[in-house]
């Protein structure tokens, strides 16, 4: 899963190279949502907060 997020970020970097601002933004937000999902998945929610 981590590999997928890094790959999407790399795609965003390639879009920056190519001058595609909007596609780079979309790629970033996709990887951001996925990384938040990973963070929530590894966060033990059973602890008292």
């Amino acid at each position: 899963m981590m590999m997928v997020v890094f790959s999407i970020l790399l795609i965003a970097l390639i879009f920056i190279w190519l001058g595609k601002n909007t596609f780079a933004m979309y790629s970033f937000f996709l990887s951001f949502i996925l990384s938040i999902w990973i963070f929530l998945k590894i966060l033990p929610l059973s602890v008292p907060l």
């Binding site: 997020v5 790399l10 970097l13 001058g19 601002n21 951001f32 990384s35």
Partner: protein, 168 residues
């Protein structure tokens, strides 16, 4: 009129230089973590990788600023990534906050996740302050041209990125 154009372009140049310095600082942070991983065999955990993702997000926002011009939406990317990095690193600090505890090797008495927390928090504050400078978003008669240094920074970022991808 020309004075106004000159003043605005001056502000844009100063902020672009600051962006370059910020990119170099983040690159140095990631290179440090890669050196620790390769030479000291310090395997990164899931939270460490999430912090790296956040740092790469900050670099992407800064590179967009240099490539496409200074725009508020690029600062959104930087702020979101810095917030995410500080959140994950603070989570890791909270896990390991016990006497004689800590995960992995330390640098100058502080563990890597603590450094990540400091760096990302500084980035949050600095970016929020820079976002308040209105004149960088005015563009009277000026077309944004990316400097050659932007391409060098993109190349170095790609190298660091691919190295990180291979070491996963």
């Amino acid at each position: 009129m020309s004075d106004v154009v000159h003043e605005i372009s001056d502000v844009k140049i100063k902020i672009s230089l600051l962006n370059i310095v910020e990119i170099l600082a983040i690159q140095l942070t990631i290179i440090f973590s890669l050196v620790f991983q390769i030479f000291l065999h310090d395997k990164p955990c899931a939270l460490c990788l999430l912090q790296r993702i956040g740092f790469f997000g900050i670099i992407l926002g800064l590179l967009m600023n240099l490539r496409f011009g200074l725009q508020p939406k690029h600062y959104t990317i930087i702020l979101l990534s810095a917030f995410f990095t500080s959140l994950t690193s603070l989570r890791q600090v909270a896990i390991n906050v016990v006497p004689d505890g800590g995960y992995g090797t330390s640098l100058f008495g502080l563990h890597m996740y603590t450094w990540a927390f400091f760096v990302s928090t500084i980035f949050l504050i600095v970016t929020a302050l820079i976002l308040g400078i209105n004149r960088q978003f005015y563009s009277p008669l000026l077309k944004w041209r990316s400097h050659w240094s932007t391409h060098v920074l993109m190349a170095t970022t790609t190298i660091i990125f691919v190295t990180n991808l291979f070491l996963l």
